[in-house]
Symmetry: C2
Subunit: 340 residues, 2 copies
């Protein structure tokens, strides 16, 4: 991710561009918020046309679109802007793969505030904020997550459904812990008409998941179980328990406690399916997974991006006999399959 300097002379450009990188986040967020990508897709491709279409000042939208062009999100020729391939697929709201909504969660003021206090978090070894304990409810944040991050999950959700053989149609009982938008369990239910899903999360968050289950026609096989993953009775006899993006919020003992509860809920021969950012043992590769550790330092008391050997040990201690690692194609996350 480092920008190499073309000449041999040391050049401060990479330092300068990193110290001002928050401007890139703000510009892309503003572009999404003002929906300039959809406006360009709809044919408003000059600054005058864009100003009309997006209800902005021509000067303002011209400067924003020039900046988005410089950073590779648009192209510009003879004063006309056009979408890049990535923008057309992921930022145009008419595109089925549109991810524009994720700007809301990734640029959430709660995250930003935590990063403003990063030096203090480094001193302390955990978030400088007072609400870094993710075993406690934080409904507003997780509803925002559930509403904005669902589109990003499609590749991982399909990968998990494939991994557990959902298309085979064998009757199965699935527990989706910290379901959020619910898309992991819902995708299994879509691919397997004989799957029953139990989704667990805070009550307000589950409403988003239930809404998605209704939209995708699986509501009759979708049960909501509101509450904490550390206190709510899971039930038992599950074929699969999904644990997507949950362990990274906690320290090792808390992860262990959760996984022991999961072990008790899985039927013999059943599996726990974990989706996570899993850095290599060097903790600096692959870049996106390894970098996620800082997000946890900034925002949680003791969360981290754990390595495979750490997960293997935690899951083994919880009673699982074997855990294997499966990279999700084209995505920075990996799936851990743990057998009981």
């Amino acid at each position: 991710m480092a920008a190499p300097t073309p000449s041999n002379r040391p050049n401060p450009e990479h330092i300068f561009s990193t110290l001002t990188a928050y401007q890139q986040s703000a510009a892309l967020k503003a572009g999404i918020e003002l929906d300039v990508f959809t406006a360009i897709a709809d044919g408003a491709n000059t600054s005058a046309a864009l100003a009309l279409k997006t209800n902005t000042a021509e000067r303002g939208v011209r400067i924003l679109c020039d900046y988005l062009t410089i950073h590779g999100f648009l192209t510009k020729e003879a004063e006309r802007y056009a979408l890049t391939m990535e923008s057309a697929v992921f930022l145009n709201r008419h595109s089925p793969a549109c991810l524009a909504s994720m700007a809301e969660f990734l640029g959430n003021p709660w995250h930003k505030k935590n990063f403003e206090m990063l030096a203090e978090a480094v001193r302390k070894g955990g978030t400088a904020s007072s609400d870094g304990d993710n075993t406690k409810p934080k409904e507003e944040l997780w509803i925002n997550f559930a509403r904005s991050m669902a589109p990003l999950t499609a590749p991982s959700a399909e990968f998990i459904a494939g991994l557990i053989g959902a298309a085979g149609g064998k009757p199965c009982k699935v527990l989706d812990i910290a379901a959020g938008h619910g898309m992991y369990g819902i995708t299994v239910a879509k691919r397997n008409p004989n799957a029953q899903i139990v989704a667990l999360d805070w009550r307000g968050v589950l409403e988003v998941a239930q809404e998605n289950a209704r939209k995708l026609g699986v509501a009759d096989r979708y049960t909501a179980k509101p509450g904490s993953a550390f206190e709510t009775e899971f039930g038992n006899g599950y074929d699969f328990v999904l644990l997507t993006n949950i362990f990274h919020h906690f320290d090792v003992p808390t992860c262990g406690k959760l996984m022991r509860r999961v072990h008790a809920a899985v039927k013999p021969g059943g599996k726990a399916i974990t989706l996570e950012f899993v850095p290599n043992e060097d903790r600096i590769s692959p870049p996106v997974a390894a970098a996620f550790s800082l997000v946890m330092l900034a925002g949680t008391d003791a969360g981290d991006a754990y390595t495979f050997s750490q997960y293997e040990k935690m899951f083994g201690n919880a009673g699982f006999v074997k855990t294997t690692l499966h990279p999700v194609p084209d995505m920075p996350q990996q799936v851990l399959v743990s057998e009981k």
Copy 2:
């Protein structure tokens, strides 16, 4: 600056990394604030040693240094961190070329707040903040600028001193408008022992410039003229008037007004020397200069990064007979020399 995707399949990684790029700014700022680069230069190269030396938690500094490694500011081998060439030159406080202080101005809360309101600035066509008129005093911000940005000016200041033939030693009178840290005028005075410098800026800012003039041994040829560039009497008969990073704050009529005042102050045959971000006519290249336009949209009522043809017209209208453009080697800014 766009990160190219290696495969042909559209991949949202560039969108994701841009929406979270504010985390890179925060991490580098925290690294500078905690002075981990100097600590590593001094031999504290494991997370345990760094924790002791920088008064941080080992877990915190480990996660931060891993992140800084991922983003190319450190290297890591067998749990030991080392500086990259750029970090050794620009981020180690023992290095004479250290630029660490610029984190304070570039990451100033005032800038950040303006970028938080960027969508509103695009709607309005100018900053959403209420203090975007830079003809008015904003001493606190400019003192912060003067105190933190001086090291970055060395290459441009030396280039300007060379361009006006300072080393020739010919007696000359130089007016440095919006002097800030004063380094442009001071560098001319250092290279030419017969140069007399008059520095203009807000009173509190000029104290920083005077401090620098004393440190660099040119205080006896350095006169402070506190006040507004639009109201204070400049005097006249100047050989050179320096206008470094000032025009971009204002709209075209205001720039024109300032340049007419400058024209009156320059002696016949004298020159106005402007240092600026000057994008090409396409306004999307070169990247750093063109991107600067957004900083002005976010933070000023009507400032911009003007093209050469815009400056040529403004300066011609103010009475200058000819303006030429000179790129500063290895820097994103250019110098405009205008002859009276």
